[in-house]
Symmetry: C2
Subunit: 211 residues, 2 copies
């Protein structure tokens, strides 16, 4: 796993504590007021540090945002042990958990796009995240196939890519205009991509509730 990207610069250090504290402050700022409100000056104020101190540990504002992201990752990893008992309800639950902090989702969306540039500080974070998620979803499909829920003809890796893309894309649409049931759309999308022709995307419960 190789540790977080914005790690302490040296092996000694007051740094460990500082860095952790700053990450938390940045994260809280995101939750409270959105990532656009995260500024070096504001983080310094809240942490009772000078701007130069913050800047020493996080060489740029973008690094600060990556720090907030990592803090969010470590937090949600705790809640992440969803049983695979019923995947669709598990997915819906995951969506619900996310939905309570839309500003964090916004940060994820913005960083995922920015991370696309190899020179961006979030690049490594984005690469790791994508690899990890694709691997997890591929495993998920394999399980679902073993349980007879998913079509055994679907390739797990390609499924994983698609499901991740679909989830991220739906999330962005939902952040833009939260008038549809994200949990339902993600869950139904999962079923369709898993090759279940019985469940939705089709006949089932009728058209979604938005226009």
């Amino acid at each position: 796993m190789a540790g977080p990207i914005t790690s302490p610069r040296g092996p000694y250090a007051k740094t460990r504590g500082r860095v952790e504290a700053v990450r938390r402050i940045a994260f809280e700022l995101v939750v409270e007021a959105g990532y656009r409100s995260v500024t070096i000056a504001e983080v310094a104020r809240r942490g009772d540090l000078t701007e130069a101190q913050v800047l020493y540990h996080f060489p740029s504002r973008e690094h600060l945002l990556v720090g907030a992201l990592e803090h969010a990752d470590s937090r949600s990893r705790a809640n992440q042990q969803v049983g695979v008992a019923d995947v669709r309800t598990a997915v819906a639950a995951a969506v619900d958990a996310d939905r309570s902090d839309p500003e964090v989702l916004r940060l994820f969306a913005a960083m995922s796009a920015a991370a696309t540039d190899p020179t961006h500080p979030a690049h490594e974070w984005g690469t790791r995240r994508t690899r990890a998620i694709v691997a997890r979803y591929a495993d998920l499909l394999t399980d679902l196939q073993a349980q007879g829920w998913a079509d055994p003809g679907v390739d797990p890796h390609r499924f994983a890519r698609r499901f991740m893309a679909l989830w991220d894309g739906l999330q962005t649409q939902w952040l833009l205009d939260p008038t549809f049931d994200l949990g339902r759309e993600v869950a139904d999308g999962l079923a369709v991509l898993a090759g279940r022709s019985d469940v939705d995307g089709r006949h089932s419960g009728g058209p979604a509730q938005d226009a």
Copy 2:
């Protein structure tokens, strides 16, 4: 259609020409060096304007980027009349066209995420874009159903949401790590979402060429 968001402030004006020129300059900067290189100073230099002049027509850097986006939109609208003869090759062709300017795609991805915030200058652009695309894809599915290519049980509006989400998501993944065939993935994803169980996502050509 109501005209572009970054429209001239008044009805008279040198403005029309200026604004158009600046939009073009910003767009070209994106193509050449990525959206991060778009700065008020650089645009002013290239347009032989003062920074204050640029700032008058585009009250912030973000507005400038929206301008670049609109320029891109108007450009691609020309090439956009793809026949629906063979959808999958049409999709692949669209992907190819896009792929020649990855920096523009990056701008789209970044702005789509940022537009999510109702106070962001790109919000209206994002809302319009999403509505337009969803409407277009819904029509597309209806056509494909009429032709017997797509499963008639699939709801066009929900399909449209999904396909847009999938395409956007795959594009971001591809920008991050362009080691898979984006055109193929989008085309196959379309088939799966349209309810064609014969085509891919399954048995067909074997696993994709990347790990």
